[in-house]
Amino acid sequence: MESVDNSNLANLSNLEILKNFELIKQGAEAKIYKGVYQNKECIIKERFKKTYRHPDLDKAITNRRTKMEVNLLQKASSFGINCPKMYFSEKENGIIVIEFIENSVTCREFILNMVKKNLPEEELGKKLKNLSVQIGKIVGKLHYNLIVHGDLTTSNFLIQNHEEEDYKIVVIDFGLSSKTNQTSQNEDKAVDLYVLERALLSTHSQQAELIFKNILAGYETECGSNKKQILDRLEVVRQRGRKRSMVG
């Protein structure tokens, strides 16, 4: 674990309902604590002040993201998507308290461990395919309900009961999420997929193609009637990346 500045704990300790919390991770924009809320294990996410950015901008970003996360976690859950339950939030302090997903690893570790095992190629392919199709379905479902996650990486899917064949996939971190609308939905969804594709390429470069292909296969079954428009748009977004003039 990293040594971190605990000065912001002051905010947290005011929350008397929380017990025994400890810092487990300092992410890029939030400190993640594990604690107990009403006798249930919970995760506390605290968006701390970023001194490098203008105070007005900092406040705007923290408020917007906390609000969105609270809002969309609840929405996603109501649409039957597996994500942590929302327990409690203090939007003005950028704090949310959510369900702790027991016995889970990130999908990133899950894949890296799977690859490390040196399984026969066919078996690895089958396992990756099964996993990817399920992830694709989750993304499809989010998109069908006009939720754009904004940070789709394999670190933001948790695999619960990962030792078992019928593990459960839970999507987390809705901090960059947004609600899209009829006019911009194809673009927003395509960019969401593009971010995921790029994240796969940088984190799982050897398996990225296989994974993404199957993610799209799963995605298509859940994303609704405008799948063609979304996939066409994805191609446009990709081209924009490739064709951008790289002068300077």
């Binding site: 990293e2 924009e29 950015r53 203008h54 790029r198 994240a199 951008r244 790289m246 300077g248």
Partner: protein
């Protein structure tokens, strides 16, 4: 002792640099400056490079106090960049390679920036933020490649700054970005602008059209000064860059950041990045305009690394390419 001469001309600077075992012996360059409100066009830029490349080569040899016989290989920018200027430089590099009978090495421009930054700052294994007029990338070394973790999904940050400088009709001398930086120092009223981070990627086109459309009106109505707008623009785009860099660091467990590319000499960006680094016990490495801005030594340095592991370019492959991704090159010189 290995001595490499490097030629860079992928955008509006033409530079010739000489590197000998980690020492910069010479690094003269010349910038094609266009009138306010105008960008640089390929054929005029190529003409500019053609006019200066030979005298810069002479100057480099004189400053380095060496003769051409002491050079081990010639490195040139293969891409990415503008076609005509790249070709102008490649033609001279090919000619010299034959005249002097030296091996020739085609270098990826972005990798030149990274290797130069590593040389100057001694950063070991940094997360690299590469920011210039044509590129915005967050890069991390992994398994023989510089992998791109985050990048712009539309225009580059430098392009965004340059285009706003054009709206304000700021001078292109020494560069539009430099003049935005100076204006921003006198701005104080913050205008909230669209802030767009997607995972580790960023988007600037929405922000640019917002400020292009609203900016001039806000100035006319005396609600904001041009200085305020430059200030707000910098605060917003740099916050986005620092955020994605931090995301990549968190993802890769990195404790070092290196900023390279023309926008990298912006002191406000460096200051913001330094604050972020302090908060997470990391170290910031940055260079000044001599090495941040396109130059010949950076191409020589990448060429030096390539030469030492035998990555000489076969003659038929000494072409140029306008699109050449950072992650296309196998980095055989690093563990």
């Amino acid at each position: 002792m290995v001595t490499i001469i490097g030629f860079e001309g992928s955008a509006n600077k033409i530079g010739v640099g000489i590197i000998r075992d980690g020492q910069v012996l010479a690094n003269p360059r010349h910038t094609y400056v266009t009138p306010p409100g105008q960008g640089f066009m390929p054929s005029e830029t190529a003409k500019h490079h053609k006019e200066h490349i030979l005298s810069l080569t002479k100057q480099a040899l004189e400053e380095a106090k060496i003769t051409w016989q002491e050079i081990d290989a010639i490195a040139y920018t293969k891409g990415p960049g503008m076609g005509a200027p790249l070709l102008t430089v490649a033609i001279v590099a090919r000619t010299l390679a034959q005249l002097w009978q030296k091996p020739i090495i085609g270098v990826n421009h972005c990798i030149g920036h990274i290797e130069m930054g590593r040389l100057i700052t001694s950063a070991e294994n940094p997360t690299v933020l590469y920011v210039s007029g044509g590129n915005t990338q967050v890069i991390s070394y992994e398994n023989k490649r510089y992998r791109i973790f985050g990048e712009t999904i539309d225009i580059a940050v430098g392009n965004c700054l340059d285009r706003f400088a054009r709206v304000l009709k700021l001078s292109n001398d020494p560069s539009p970005g430099f003049n935005i930086e100076q204006m921003a120092k006198n701005g104080s009223k913050y205008l909230e602008l669209p802030y767009c981070v997607k995972g580790m990627d960023v988007s600037f086109s929405g922000l640019l059209s917002f400020i292009e459309q609203r900016g001039p009106k806000l100035v006319e109505q005396k609600k904001y000064t041009p200085e305020d707008l430059c200030y707000s623009l910098q605060e917003t785009v740099f916050a986005m860059l620092v955020e994605i860099t931090e995301r990549a660091m968190s993802h890769c467990n990195s404790r070092e950041v290196l900023i390279v590319g023309g926008v990298g000499c912006n002191l406000r960006l460096q200051e913001m990045m330094r604050k972020m680094c302090e908060e997470r016990n990391a170290i910031l490495f940055a260079t000044d305009d001599r090495f941040c801005i396109d130059n010949g030594a950076m191409i020589a340095q990448a060429g030096y690394e390539m030469f030492k592991v035998g990555m000489v370019t076969p003659w038929e492959k000494t072409t140029i390419t306008q699109r050449f991704r950072t992650d296309q090159v196998e980095i055989n010189w690093r563990k």
